[in-house]
C-alpha cells in the first residue's frame, strides 16, 4: 500500500518531496499501530489540518469496516443453517495456517536479531508469565518496551545522529 500512497502524495499531488515522504515513513515506523493510518493521518493533517486528517484516515479505513460489519452480520444471521455453519467452521483451519505462517515469520525475525537461544528463553519466560500465571500480556510487553528504551545502547551499535 505504501508505494501507492507515495504515487499519489509525491508524484500526483506533489504535497511533499521524496525525501520528506521517506522521513515521515521512518517516523511512523518508530510508533506502534498500523502504518496505513499513521501516514494518511499525518499527510492529511499537513495538507489540510484536522479536517484533512479525519478525511484521509476515514478514506482508508471506513469502506472496509462497513464491508466487514455487513458481511459478518449477514453471516451471523444465518448461522443456524447447517451449510452456513459449515462455512464458518471451514475458515478456522485457514486462519490457523495464516497464524502459523505469522508465528514462523516473527520467530525467524527474532532469531535473526537476537539468536535462537535468547529468543527461545524470552518466549518461554513470557509464555509462563502470560499463560502459566495468567499475567496480562500488556504488563509483560510493556515491561520489555520500557527496558528496551531505558537500557543504555551498546557502544559498538551506538549510531545516534
Amino acid at each position: 500500500m505504501i508505494p501507492l500512497v507515495h504515487q499519489e502524495v509525491v508524484k500526483r499531488h506533489a504535497w511533499m518531496t521524496d525525501e520528506e515522504f521517506a522521513d515521515v515513513l521512518a517516523i511512523a515506523n518508530t510508533l506502534p499501530g498500523p502504518i496505513a493510518t499513521k501516514m494518511p493521518g499525518y499527510i492529511g493533517y499537513r495538507v489540510a489540518g484536522l479536517g484533512g486528517c479525519i478525511i484521509a484516515v476515514s478514506a482508508v479505513i471506513v469502506p472496509m469496516i462497513v464491508a466487514m460489519i455487513l458481511l459478518l452480520s449477514v453471516f451471523s444471521h444465518y448461522r443456524d443453517v447447517d451449510w452456513i455453519r459449515g462455512m464458518g467452521q471451514s475458515v478456522v483451519p485457514v486462519v490457523m495456517v495464516m497464524l502459523a505462517q505469522l508465528t514462523l515469520d516473527f520467530w525467524h525475525k527474532s532469531r535473526l536479531a537476537l539468536g535462537w537461544a535468547v529468543s527461545l528463553a524470552m518466549a518461554v519466560i513470557a509464555g509462563v508469565l502470560i499463560y502459566g500465571l495468567g499475567l496480562h500480556p500488556g504488563w509483560v510487553i510493556g515491561a520489555l518496551l520500557i527496558a528496551a528504551l531505558l537500557r543504555p545502547a551498546q557502544k559498538a551499535s551506538e549510531t545516534r545522529s
Partner: protein
C-alpha cells in the same frame, strides 16, 4: 462501562504492538476473546479470515467489527478511535523528537525484544485454532483444509481472499 472497556481493549494492543502490523492479532485476541469474552474463538476466526481477505489494515477492521458487535455504531467508533488516535497524536505532537530518534538502536530494540513474545502468543493462538478446528470441523477436515491452505498460501502465493473463498465453498459442501 462498555465504551471504556472497548477503548482499553483496543488501546492497549495498539500501543504495545511493536514488531510489525500483525503483532496486534494475538494481543487483540487476548482482550476480546480472553479477557472480556465478547466473542467465541470461532467468531474471532471468522473475523480474522474476512479481515485478511479484505484490503486496508487488519487492526482498524477488527476494531470496527468488534466494536459494532459489542455496542453498535458508538462502539465501533470508540474502538476505531482507540486504535488510530493515540499513535497519530504522538506522531503529530512529537514529530521532532521522533525524527531525531528514528534510527536509534533503542527504537529498533523495542521491536526486537517484543517479537519473541509475539511469536509465542501467535503460536499459542495457532494451537488454539487447531483445537477449535478439531472440535468443530473434525480432525480430518481440519487437516485437509489446513494442508490445502498452506500449499496455496506458501507455495502458490495465492491471495488470502481466494483461499478463504475456497474454504467457504468446501465448508458449504462438506461440513453442512
Amino acid at each position: 462501562m462498555i465504551y471504556w472497556e472497548l477503548f482499553l481493549a483496543f488501546f492497549i494492543p495498539n500501543i504495545i504492538g511493536y514488531g510489525g502490523g500483525p503483532a496486534i492479532i494475538p494481543l487483540i485476541e487476548a482482550e476480546v476473546v480472553g479477557r472480556y469474552g465478547w466473542m467465541s474463538a470461532q467468531e474471532f476466526a471468522e473475523t480474522l479470515a474476512l479481515g485478511n481477505a479484505l484490503p486496508s489494515p487488519i487492526a482498524t477492521k477488527m476494531a470496527g467489527q468488534v466494536g459494532f458487535e459489542v455496542a453498535g455504531t458508538g462502539g465501533a467508533l470508540v474502538a476505531v478511535l482507540a486504535t488510530v488516535v493515540p499513535s497519530l497524536l504522538l506522531m503529530l505532537g512529537a514529530l521532532g523528537l521522533l525524527y531525531r530518534h528514528r534510527d536509534s538502536p533503542r527504537v529498533k530494540r523495542m521491536s526486537q525484544w517484543v517479537r519473541p513474545v509475539i511469536a509465542l502468543m501467535m503460536g499459542w493462538l495457532t494451537l488454539g485454532f487447531f483445537l477449535e478446528g478439531v472440535g468443530g470441523a473434525g480432525l480430518l477436515h481440519t487437516l485437509v483444509i489446513g494442508a490445502t491452505a498452506a500449499i496455496a498460501l506458501l507455495h502458490f502465493r495465492a491471495h488470502p481472499a481466494i483461499v478463504v473463498l475456497g474454504a467457504l465453498v468446501y465448508g458449504g459442501l462438506f461440513l453442512g
